[in-house]
C-alpha cells in the first residue's frame, strides 16, 4: 500500500509541477486573501493582530479547497478514473497517495502564507514547537478530510459547488482547534495549545481511518 501511495503522490505532485496551477493560481489567490483581510481590518491594528491565526487558517482552508478540487479535476477527463480503477491499485493506497500530495502542497502554501502574515500583519512568530506541530497535524487532517470529500464530489456534475458545502463544515473543528493552538503558540502560554493539538490529532486520525476504509466504496459509487 505504501509503494502505491508513494507512486500516486509522486504522480500528483508531478502533475502540479508541470501544470503550475498551485504556484501560478493558488499561491497568488492565498496572498490576495491575506491582503484583503488586512484592508478590511487595517483601521484597527489590534483586531488584525488578534485575528491573525484565524485569518491565516481561513486562507489555508480556501487553498485546501482549490488543491482538493484540482486533485480530482485532472482525473475527471479522458477516462483516467476508469484507467486508475483498472490498474488494480488498492483504493487505500490511492487515497493515501492523493492525501499525501495535497498535504505537501498545503505545507508549501502554509510556509508562504506564514511569510505573508509576518510581512503584511507584522506578526512575530514564536512557540515554534507547538506552531510546527500544529501545522503538520492540521495539514494531515485537512488533507485526509479533503481527499475523502473530494472523491465523494468528484463523480458528480455539481462537484465544484458541492465540495465547499461538504468540506467546510466538516473542517470547522480543525479551524477552531488550529486557531486556538496557533494563538497559544504566538502568545505567552504555549501550554494552553497542546490540548487543542490533541484534538486536531484525533480529528486527523478519524478522517484518515474513514478515508482508508471508505475511499474505495465512494470511488465505485460516484
Amino acid at each position: 500500500m505504501l509503494r502505491e501511495a508513494t507512486l500516486v503522490a509522486r504522480k500528483d505532485l508531478r502533475v502540479e509541477l508541470r501544470s503550475r496551477v498551485t504556484t501560478n493560481q493558488v499561491v497568488p489567490f492565498a496572498l490576495v486573501v491575506l491582503v484583503l483581510f488586512a484592508f478590511a481590518l487595517d483601521p484597527d491594528r489590534g483586531v488584525l493582530e488578534r485575528a491573525t491565526p484565524g485569518l491565516y487558517w481561513v486562507a489555508v482552508l480556501f487553498c485546501a479547497l482549490l488543491a482538493v478540487q484540482r486533485a480530482f479535476a485532472v482525473e475527471a477527463a479522458d477516462g483516467i478514473r476508469d484507467a486508475l480503477r483498472l490498474t488494480g491499485i488498492e483504493p487505500a493506497g490511492l487515497y493515501l497517495g492523493k492525501a499525501l500530495a495535497v498535504a505537501v502542497q498545503l505545507l508549501v502554501l502554509e510556509v508562504l502564507l506564514g511569510l505573508g502574515v509576518v510581512v503584511l500583519y507584522d506578526t512575530a512568530l514564536g512557540g515554534w514547537g507547538l506552531l510546527i506541530a500544529t501545522c503538520l497535524v492540521a495539514t494531515a487532517g485537512i488533507a485526509a478530510a479533503g481527499t475523502l470529500f473530494g472523491v465523494l464530489a468528484a463523480g458528480l456534475r455539481v462537484r465544484e459547488t458541492l465540495l465547499p458545502l461538504l468540506l467546510l463544515p466538516a473542517l470547522a473543528p480543525v479551524l477552531l482547534a488550529t486557531t486556538r493552538a496557533s494563538e497559544a503558540a504566538l502568545g505567552d502560554d504555549t501550554a494552553e495549545g497542546w490540548p487543542w493539538l490533541g484534538l486536531l490529532g484525533v480529528f486527523a486520525l478519524v478522517y484518515l481511518t474513514a478515508g482508508l476504509i471508505g475511499f474505495g466504496a465512494l470511488m465505485e459509487d460516484t
Binding site: E4, L7, V8, K11, R14, V15, R18, S19, V74, A77, D78, G79, I80, D82, A83, L84, R85, L86, T87, G88, I89, E220
Partner: protein, 217 residues
C-alpha cells in the same frame, strides 16, 4: 474449458440507470470477437461491464473465471480496456505517463516503450506533454500502455478511431499478435470492413441486449 467471458441474462447499471439488459455472451480463450451495433446500442457498456467497471445486478457474469457480481476488482487487474478516453494525463509527458501507468499496473515499462516504437511514435516525443499530442498520437500511447500490461482479455472500443492508415495496420498487427499469444479480444467497432477480418465471430448488440451471433471465419 470455462469461457473467458460468460454472460447469461446479465444486467448492469450505469449509475442508477439500467445499461445492459439481459446480455448473453460466451467468448472462448484466444478468440477474437467483434461487437457491432448502432450508436447507443450498448457496445461500450458491454465492454465496460466485462472490464468490471459497471456493477452487474442480475444474471450470470463471469470473466476469466471470476464472478463480476462479487469479484470485480480481481477481474480489473487482468483485463485491458482501450475506451473512448485514452486514460492519459495531459500535463505529464509521454515518458511520465508510460512510467506511471506501467508501474501502477505492475507491468514492464520497457514493453510499453517497445510498443510505442512499433506503433511509429518517434523517440523525440518522449518528453512532450501528452496534451500537446494529436488525437492519433495519444491513442498510440494508450495502446502502448495496454500492450505492456499484457492483459488476458483485451477490450477495445473503436480501436481504429482517430488513427491514420498506417497506424490502423499496426494496431491490427498488435491485435493479431495478442490473439496468437493466447489473449482473448473483444472489440467494438463501427468500421466493419476494417474490424471483420480480425474477428472469428460477430456479436450484435442492440438496446443493451446481445441479439445475434454469426461466424465469419
Amino acid at each position: 474449458m470455462e469461457p473467458v467471458v460468460h454472460l447469461r441474462a446479465a444486467a448492469a447499471l450505469l449509475g442508477r440507470f439500467p445499461a445492459l439488459a439481459g446480455a448473453d455472451l460466451d467468448v472462448a480463450s484466444g478468440e477474437v470477437v467483434l461487437v457491432r451495433g448502432p450508436n447507443g446500442a450498448g457496445k461500450t457498456t458491454l465492454l465496460r461491464t466485462c472490464a468490471g467497471l459497471l456493477p452487474v445486478v442480475s444474471g450470470e457474469a463471469r470473466v476469466l473465471g471470476h464472478d463480476l457480481r462479487t469479484d470485480r476488482r480481481t477481474v480489473r487487474r487482468h483485463v485491458g480496456l482501450l475506451g473512448h478516453g485514452t486514460g492519459l494525463y495531459d500535463e505529464l509527458t509521454v515518458a511520465d505517463n508510460l512510467s506511471f501507468w506501467t508501474r501502477a499496473a505492475g507491468a514492464d515499462e520497457r514493453d510499453a516503450v517497445a510498443a510505442l516504437y512499433r506503433l511509429g511514435l518517434a523517440g523525440r516525443l518522449r518528453d512532450v506533454p501528452v496534451g500537446r499530442l494529436s488525437a492519433g498520437q495519444r491513442r498510440r500511447v494508450a495502446f502502448a500502455v495496454l500492450v505492456a500490461r499484457r492483459p488476458a482479455l483485451w477490450l477495445l472500443d473503436e480501436p481504429h478511431a482517430g488513427l491514420d492508415h498506417e497506424a490502423r495496420d499496426l494496431v491490427d498487427d498488435l491485435v493479431r499478435d495478442a490473439a496468437a499469444a493466447g489473449a482473448t479480444v473483444l472489440l467494438a467497432s463501427h468500421e466493419l470492413e476494417r474490424a471483420e477480418p480480425l474477428a472469428a465471430r460477430i456479436v450484435t448488440v442492440n438496446g443493451g441486449v446481445t441479439t445475434e451471433a454469426a461466424g465469419v471465419a
